[in-house]
């Protein structure tokens, strides 16, 4: 046998060799930055200066801007989940019904089209939305508003509610397609026999959806829920491209944008790190609570 196989004769080493790349990259790109961030959150950091200031940075979090960021992030996450789970699920079921028979080619085309937004750069998407909702009377949104008999509006400056609707709209446009793909994959796992026997028992379409589809899609739903929580709390670019680094009335201020504002714009990296660690803790707790609630940790209840 060639020389290379010799180390593998000793089975003890093999698992370590195979996990080494992951351990190294996780250590370098995850563990080290997280530990550094924790340390930095207790420091005052300036060019040529780093000193420990105890809990100062965390104490300074008790300010109106942090609360606004916290509220915006929670509301955004909640709304995106409220939209981006039921809507794609229903659309996936409808789309799935066209999978066989005459609708097959339509199914393929539609699936491709729905996936397209997810592939686009958020900067492009944000810019397009910014232009659509520009203040000028000739912007698309204002043209439509005028056709419907409403006066033109300065959408991006119209206050917190409009701003949140715009942000959720961008998220919906971007992620509906990809969530449909997840649910389509889940639908394939459901055996057709279940629907057939339900039909024999006289169940209607809604009952089949309610009693078979929704419960059996639960693993996919839990997955989509989890990534939506991460995505919701991590939102930054959408708000950044719509308003830039600051937004009037802080309508687009999210947790991550607050990190950016304090860490970079105001060069308070210690405070920025403290926000980051707080965000990490919040996301961790929220995900844990949701997973517990959805029974993810229960064993063998499928």
């Amino acid at each position: 046998m060639p020389a290379l196989s010799r180390p593998f004769k000793n089975q003890r080493y093999v698992p370590y060799v195979f996990v080494l790349p992951f351990v190294l990259s996780a250590g370098l790109f995850f563990v080290y930055p997280v530990i550094q961030t924790i340390i930095m959150s207790f420091q005052e950091i300036a060019p040529g200066l780093r000193e420990f200031v105890g809990l100062d940075n965390y104490r300074r979090l008790a300010n109106p801007r942090f609360y606004t960021a916290l509220r915006n992030s929670f509301v955004y996450t909640f709304l995106t989940i409220a939209v981006l789970i039921p809507v794609p699920m229903v659309l996936a079921v409808l789309l799935n019904s066209a999978r066989s028979g005459a609708g097959r080619s339509a199914f393929t085309v539609l699936r491709g089209m729905l996936f397209l937004p997810a592939l686009m750069s958020v900067v492009v998407v944000g810019t397009v939305f910014r232009l659509m909702f520009a203040s000028s009377e000739s912007a698309i949104a204002n043209t439509v508003a005028q056709l419907l008999g409403f006066p033109p509006t300065e959408w991006l400056l119209a206050g917190p509610t409009t701003a949140m609707v715009l942000l959720v709209l961008v998220a919906t446009w971007r992620w509906t397609g990809i969530n449909i793909i997840y649910f389509l994959a889940g639908l394939q796992q459901i055996p057709n026999e279940l629907y057939e026997s339900a039909e024999l028992d006289g169940a209607n379409a809604f009952q089949k959806f309610r009693r078979i589809t929704v419960p059996l899609l639960r693993p996919v739903t839990v997955f989509v829920l989890t990534i939506s929580v991460f995505g919701g709390f991590a939102m930054f670019e959408e708000s950044f491209v719509l308003w830039g680094p600051t937004s009037p009335g802080n309508v687009g201020l999210t947790m991550v944008k607050y990190i950016y504002q304090q860490g970079f714009q105001s060069a308070q990296m210690g405070l920025g790190s403290a926000v980051g660690i707080t965000l990490l803790a919040i996301v961790f707790l929220v995900s844990l609570a949701l997973l517990k609630l959805t029974g993810f940790f229960r064993q063998g209840d499928e």
């Binding site: 020389a3 290379l4 010799r6 180390p7 593998f8 004769k9 000793n10 080493y13 060799v17 080494l20 190294l24 950091i45 300036a46 060019p47 040529g48 200066l49 300074r60 300010n63 109106p64 801007r65 520009a134 203040s135 000028s136 300065e154 991006l156 400056l157 206050g159 680094p245 600051t246 937004s247 009037p248 009335g249 802080n250 201020l253 504002q261 970079f264 714009q265 105001s266 060069a267 308070q268 990296m269």
Partner: protein, 435 residues
């Protein structure tokens, strides 16, 4: 022994991959002794690079034995400032010369300043400059940034609208005159008298400075909510709400696409912005060519100032570079010499901070600005007295945060939402800064 080969090989691959990068990075620092020295320059304005390149040509003519090449890169505004911050904090990666925008400049004056003091070059010519423009880049008596312009704030009048309203712009001396003229404009034409920024600070800050007030005291104490500043914001608010002569700028601020379209269409009769805003007229509102007249700002009191120095970019030399002394000497040549100051006008359209060139023939030559504005080639001769009417702006490390608060909370809550009075909004912001 051989069974360790696999281990050793894998470790070597990883170590090699990472250290290889560092090794390559270190070698870049070693320069050839002969030939021109390459100075790395970061900016956030593409057009600034052309200025430095032209100054490098002049420098090379005068210093045949110390040739320089400018290796300029224009990054997006945020990226450049963030990268520089990280470079100065980590002690590696900064360029030889860097443009730093004024609202971010205080960030780099925190801690142990990692920029070279330019005092040795500034002191000999200090008297010939608008002193207030050095003060904004100064900490503990050391000037760390060299200015691009005075940022003289002026009033731009649309003469077509003012004539239609029957207002003689030269009769406007005080803000009371201005508001009275505003009523004439609103009553006799379809235009507003002016626009006020609701999402940025360029309407508010110059008037605060004009009244010799500041956001912070020279000791760094928070002055944002002092009586003068409240009165200034009340005046802006009154123009919009009670007098009805102004509206908030379409798009929120004076650099918005929406605003350019509105103004080019004759939407408002005037606007106060610094002289560097001339370029926005020529580039984005070319329909107004031949219609815009530049005048001093109205005064608040009969003996009050008629201008303010606003905005700016300070160019600095990070101390971690390989050619700190050469970079500093070149920068001083570019920004402090008379040739450099003339080129600041010719190449960039800036009002140069060196006062002696304001009366030179070079600044009375025809160009796209003299063609555009009704002042013609007299712009600088007419505005020169204003350089003595500039109150210094106290820059503290809290300025970036103060500006963020003004943009996101103070101006929107007062002017667009009407959810707070000027006093309430300023107090709320000041309390956050005092925290």
């Amino acid at each position: 022994m051989r069974r360790h080969t696999m281990w050793v090989a894998m470790v070597l691959v990883f170590v090699g991959a990472t250290t290889g990068l560092f090794a390559a990075g270190q070698q870049e620092g070693m320069e050839e002794a002969s030939g021109p020295v390459e100075l790395e320059l970061w900016t956030f304005q593409e057009i600034h690079i052309a200025f430095y390149e032209r100054m490098a040509e002049l420098w090379n003519e005068q210093h045949p034995d110390r040739q320089v090449v400018i290796n300029g890169t224009a990054y997006p505004y945020g990226d450049m400032h963030n990268n520089l911050l990280v470079a100065l904090q980590s002690g590696t990666g900064a360029p030889d010369i860097v443009d730093i925008e004024i609202s971010r400049f205080p960030n780099y004056l925190r801690g142990n300043v990692q920029l070279r003091s330019m005092n040795d070059y500034v002191d000999p010519v200090r008297d010939d400059f608008v002193e207030a423009r050095f003060d904004i880049y100064t900490k503990d008596g050391n000037v760390y940034g060299l200015p691009f312009h005075v940022g003289l704030t002026v009033m731009y009048y649309n003469t077509e609208i003012m004539d239609a309203a029957g207002v003689d712009i030269d009769s406007i001396d005080t803000w009371d005159d201005y508001i009275a003229a505003g009523h004439q404009v609103v009553d006799n034409t379809d235009a507003w008298m002016t626009t006020v920024e609701a999402t940025e600070q360029w309407s508010f800050w110059p008037l605060v400075t004009e009244r010799k007030s500041n956001f912070f005291g020279s000791d760094g104490s928070v002055q944002l909510d002092n009586q003068t500043n409240i009165e200034v914001l009340e005046m802006l608010n009154d123009m919009v709400r009670t007098e009805g002569i102004a509206r908030t700028a379409p798009g929120g601020f004076h650099h918005a696409e929406e605003y350019y379209g509105f103004m080019a269409d004759g939407g408002a009769a005037s606007i106060w912005m610094p002289l560097w805003y001339m370029g926005r007229f020529t580039d984005y509102m070319s329909d107004l060519s031949g219609k815009i007249a530049i005048r001093p700002l109205p005064r608040f009191t009969p003996d009050g100032f008629r201008s303010a120095g606003m905005g700016g970019t300070g160019t600095a030399v990070p101390t971690q570079g390989d050619h700190v002394e050469l970079a500093a000497e070149f920068l001083a040549f570019a920004k402090l010499s008379e040739e450099g100051n003339i080129l600041l006008w010719e190449e960039l359209g800036f009002d140069p901070p060196r006062k002696s060139v304001w009366t030179s023939d070079a600044l009375a030559q025809e160009n796209k600005y003299t063609d555009f504005f009704t002042n013609g080639t007299e712009i600088f001769r007419q505005m020169l007295p204003l350089t003595e009417e500039i109150h210094p702006v106290n820059m503290t490390t809290q300025i970036p945060d103060a500006i963020t608060l003004i943009q996101t909370e103070v101006m929107p809550s007062v002017l667009s939402e009407g959810s707070a009075t000027p006093a309430e909004a300023l107090r709320r912001a000041a309390d956050q800064l005092r925290q």
